[in-house]
């Protein structure tokens, strides 16, 4: 492996395989380095052919969360990139499938992409708050509660996790997914 555990406080530029193995054993520094290094790689992999360039950042974040959740499935005797590419491709397809399933989102994507950067206080967006409430109503109760506690009422992930009797990671993932869903619903 080339890296002893006591070196983990100051990891050098290691191969992703080594960093992944260290991460599996709980080395946070190695894990942070791994995620930071793979993020641009993932972005390059997914950006080609996307209708909206902003999606690549969103998909990349989904991939990073997926890497976190499936870290246990990485096998030390296998190269890292095929494992990462499989997850990247899966999340990219998943994102696009969900996006185009939503008819209104599909219509929005055919319009000028500048619409996404409009300010929410723009005149044409009057009543948007009602739309957000309506969209929130379509989210399952548990996810809605987590989202409201974290993003509207301003509780920390740790506080929400305690309140909901869930792990902090699960709470963050849930809030992130709900935000994604809302974004899709609102076009």
């Amino acid at each position: 492996m080339g890296i002893a555990n006591d070196d983990s406080q100051n990891p050098q530029t290691d191969s992703w395989e080594e960093l992944a193995i260290l991460s599996q054993s709980g080395d946070k520094r190695a894990y942070r380095q791994l995620l930071s290094e793979i993020a641009p790689y993932i972005k390059v992999r997914i950006s080609g052919g996307l209708a909206n360039p902003d999606w690549s950042e969103e998909i990349m974040q989904e991939v990073l969360i997926s890497v976190h959740k499936s870290l246990k499935s990485y096998c030390a005797d296998r190269p890292f990139k095929p494992w990462l590419n499989a997850i990247t491709q899966f999340r990219r397809t998943d994102f696009l499938r969900k996006h185009y399933k939503n008819k209104s989102a599909k219509e929005a994507s055919q319009e000028n992409t500048d619409i996404f950067s409009n300010n929410v206080t723009h005149d044409s967006h009057a009543g948007e708050l009602l739309d957000i409430e309506k969209a929130l109503g379509k989210i399952p109760d548990k996810q809605r509660k987590i989202f409201k506690l974290m993003k509207i009422e301003g509780y920390s992930a740790v506080e929400v996790a305690e309140e909901m009797d869930m792990s902090v990671s699960a709470v963050k993932v849930s809030a992130h997914r709900t935000a994604g869903k809302l974004k899709e619903m609102l076009g």
């Binding site: 709980g26 902003d54 950042e57 990349m60 499936s70 499935s73 590419n85 902090v168």
Partner: protein, 214 residues
């Protein structure tokens, strides 16, 4: 864009902060083997409870019967392996397992369709056979257990994995039925030995995506 990039950095920070040592998923074979042993024992128990067909000893000399059983067994084992390898995102590079399983499934289907075209003289609708409930008995627990085992992984091909799970269970259940049921009528086999597993597959297909979401 800067805000989004900051969000990415925040996510990386959060994920790194939450990292705990993980228990690495065991080798797919080591996960498939206990399921196969459990399912074979379960089906043997079912055969013991339901009783072996009266002409079983003579059927062992029937090359067509042996070929059919062997083919279905190999298909089922192959689908089991494929299912458990699919729990790893890149299948550990063993993508040929999918082609092998699909080929075997095609051969079994071709075999059944050929038998049906050549020998089916009636379709036994309109009455109940205990084989239907036996098929459910043979399939239910193995199906639940393989879905449970598969949920521990992180598949990137959920629908294909559902198909493989169903084929793995159906194959072994089908063998159990062919050992306990004395009927060799292809109409009976299609309706009471295969149809329940198609129904099971449709059911798992509808709800399975939720199980394998991660």
């Amino acid at each position: 864009m800067t805000r989004v990039a900051n969000k990415t950095n925040n996510i990386i920070d959060d994920l790194a902060a939450e990292l705990k040592p993980v228990k690495v998923l065991r080798h797919p074979f080591m996960r498939a083997f206990p399921w196969l042993v459990f399912t074979v024992l379960y089906i043997l128990l079912g055969i013991f409870l339901l009783g072996v067909r009266g002409d079983f000893i003579s059927k062992l000399n029937d090359s067509s019967y042996i070929f059919e059983m062997s083919l279905v067994l190999v298909m089922s084992i192959s689908a089991t392996m494929c299912s458990l390898w699919m729990c790893v995102p890149d299948m550990r590079g063993q993508k040929w397992l999918v082609a092998t399983s699909l080929t075997l499934i095609s051969v079994v289907l071709a075999w059944i369709i050929t038998q049906a075209v050549m020998n089916m003289d009636h379709v036994p609708f309109g009455y109940w056979s205990h084989c239907f409930s036996d098929a459910v008995f043979f399939g239910l627990l193995p199906a639940a257990s393989i879905v449970f085992i598969s949920m521990k992984g992180s598949t990137t091909q959920p629908y294909l994995m559902i198909l493989m799970n169903v084929i793995a269970v159906s194959g072994l259940g089908y063998i159990g039925l062919r050992i306990t049921c004395a009927s060799d009528d292809i109409g009976h086999i299609c309706v009471f030995h295969i149809l329940p597993y198609i129904a099971l597959g449709a059911f798992i297909g509808m709800i399975g995506r939720r199980f394998y979401r991660w």
